[in-house]
Symmetry: C2
Amino acid sequence: MEMTKTETQRPYTQVLGRLRAVGLRPTRQRLALAKLLFEGPDRHVTAEILHGEAQAASMRVSLATVYNTLHQFTAAGLLREIVVDSQRSYFDTNMTDHHHFFFVGTGELKDIPGDQVEVAGLPAPPPGMTVKRVEIVVRVENE
Amino acid sequence: MEMTKTETQRPYTQVLGRLRAVGLRPTRQRLALAKLLFEGPDRHVTAEILHGEAQAASMRVSLATVYNTLHQFTAAGLLREIVVDSQRSYFDTNMTDHHHFFFVGTGELKDIPGDQVEVAGLPAPPPGMTVKRVEIVVRVENE
DNA sequence: GTGATTGCAAATCTTTTGCACTAAA
DNA sequence: TTTAGTGCAAAAGATTTGCAATCAC
């Protein structure tokens, strides 16, 4: 609430702060991509899609930099990579605990909030191993 | 029990029958790959691995045929494709309802029997959509 | 300035494709 | 025979890499 004015006046402030907070230099390209990714609702993107959006918005960013940036953001905890399709990588801006519907036909993803889902009966991981994440993908099809 | 003798005398009988049962011509290559895949305990393979094993066993099969065969077997219900790594495709000979541990460091997979696992609270799929499968991947790491 | 970051083109890796050849029925 | 299946080499698509140019600090 109290930040609305600031956001309006300095539109890059939020993403800039987010980049600084994770130790990434706020370069023109990173700011542009962060803007596309983090302003607005949560989303699922591929490198190709994000690159296309950047171009459509007249932001000059190479595809290689999009790949680099997606991975840097992921390593920094700003994004999460979702593996649902062996052909392309998806990145999710929603960092809360959640799962996914995957629409096989279209390749679209839809979040399933994690707080409603309960998984019981999973065995303990092998000795010396730690559970990094439990991912549920519900593959759905038309008809 | 009563098939042991038959198996010993005609080692290809089982896989031959499996291929016939799903309407795939039992060619030399398919029989060889099916032998590697289905004789012995359940396993997880990539095209690369299976091709390597075929070569090691002096079976002459091209990599393209390995890819074709893996997909044909999958379409025929003899294999299941597991998506855990965006870089390579894994195929699983275990067709029962189950899930997986994925060892991030090594890329190895380990089955989690499905009958012990209970998932509650998943929302219904969008109208017109049918759930094809619910996949759980438990990503584990060393330490 | 200086080290981090970027762009570009080439390289790499997995997977698919086109087509002549071979083999199963 | 006849049609499905195979091998090979080439293509395709996603992602990475090397390195000179550029930018943030």
